[in-house]
Symmetry: C2
């Protein structure tokens, strides 16, 4: 692994719950030598990606990130295009909704939006979504580049007892997502969280990310599920449009079929 990659990986150890890290502590976490880690931090500091708190001498993320993030959002205004539809989705479903962005082989958390309807809420606080364990990830595998599947199977981390653990099981879930147009997980990343997701597209015509609703399991009734599915489709259309793309016909068809079947089940019961 290149020295640059090792340096950049250090950034991932910083999070809202661990905003400042001392040199020694970071060495332990990253399992690296102290001299090496120190030099890596120096490189990051030169560029303003991290800085040292003069009071504690610990390191924290730096001010250059704000600058770069602004430029990114000017370049590719994903957040701007997702905000309103996501708010609407959260309001309509009463559950936490979130949007992710595909880049390379990784699905990045772009933003999440909680609904004020309930006081027990799902909080989305991970930087990237595991492809095999989240509804968003299943959408990415179902509608994204072919080689993602291989990448996903390289390490099937088990987050809960319900996490998909075999390649066959993953294949089945992905096929199901492709057929229905919806990625669905029930407690596979966080126990007691049921999620539904749909793909989002941009002007390249390729998968650009996904939008999802993460619901508290006990609230996830068939009725809610139907509401979520309907509004997810709408959110995907809106966000795709804002991102310069459109939902492909095959996905629209899959949604139509799935929503129709749901309705039939309801009326017959």
């Amino acid at each position: 692994m290149s020295s640059a990659s090792k340096t950049l990986e250090l950034l991932d150890y910083f999070s809202p719950t661990r905003p400042e890290i001392g040199l020694s502590q970071l060495c332990v976490m990253a399992r690296r030598d102290k001299a090496t880690t120190y030099r890596h931090l120096q490189s990051l500091e030169e560029t303003g990606l991290v800085e040292q708190n003069p009071m504690t001498r610990r390191y924290r993320l730096g001010p250059a990130l704000l600058q770069l993030a602004r430029t990114r959002e000017v370049t590719v205004p994903r957040k701007n295009g997702a905000e309103a539809p996501l708010r609407a989705l959260a309001d309509a479903t009463g559950e936490t909704s979130h949007v992710s962005v595909m880049s390379g082989k990784t699905l990045y958390n772009l933003m999440s939006c909680e609904s004020p309807r309930h006081s027990i809420r799902v909080i989305i606080d991970i930087p990237t979504f595991p492809l095999h364990a989240t509804a968003s990830g299943l959408c990415a595998l179902a509608f994204g580049r072919e080689d993602l599947f291989e990448a996903a199977t390289e390490r099937l981390a088990a987050f809960t007892p319900k996490t998909i653990a075999s390649i066959d099981a993953l294949h089945a879930s992905v096929s199901s997502a492709r057929e229905t147009g919806f990625g669905k997980t029930m407690g596979s990343f966080e126990i007691d969280v049921h999620s539904l997701a749909v793909p989002v597209f941009d002007q390249s015509g390729l998968l650009a990310g996904s939008v999802a609703v993460a619901s508290v399991a006990t609230r996830f009734t068939p009725n809610l599920e139907h509401i979520v599915r309907t509004h997810l489709a709408k959110a995907s259309r809106d966000i795709s449009h804002n991102w310069g793309g459109t939902v492909p016909a095959n996905v629209e068809q899959a949604w139509a079929k799935t929503l129709k079947r749901c309705q039939e089940l309801e009326t017959t019961s």
Copy 2:
């Protein structure tokens, strides 16, 4: 120079005006070998700091930056604390106001705010402020760490004919800033832009950044100058407070003396 630093420097070539860069183009700009640059971009892509536009094959800033920037702002909420006072400053002066953040030996542009009063406006679109050529930089040199001065003199880039070009001249300007509490430049970075700046402090008691007003030269009358100085002092107090610090007594005294002298000059004239 370390490989990691060279990799990170690539990020600086991306800007709102140059949002996407092809491999060959980046090699020319950075004066690097193609194979090297390609590998560096790979490292950045792995971490999500850049991504490749699938349509153009060119590279652009990546989605991980939004994530990291959010964490930075949660860790050190500079933007949040600066927004309202900056708005007030721009409204009171009718000129573009901006806040910078000191990190290491670099003064980073945090945010700027234009006033709608005039249709000719100064636009602040640089990622970092040269210490010797901007009012904000002079404040940093006057009230920041001692070793900044040495760093600043290493390369006195000439942006305009009025840019400070000698160590002695820089020393004089910094001394003046220290005495008056205000950094002042007249066309030293952009011709036709006159700037005034004051230091901002955080809970460490050290200089944390600066707040400045950049005015179109022809509008910069003694009357406006007095208004700007008064409101800069207020903005610095407010932002310092929001950042957990206070303006040190010596700075307050310098301001008081300077503002009093201004008033005297006005009444006698």
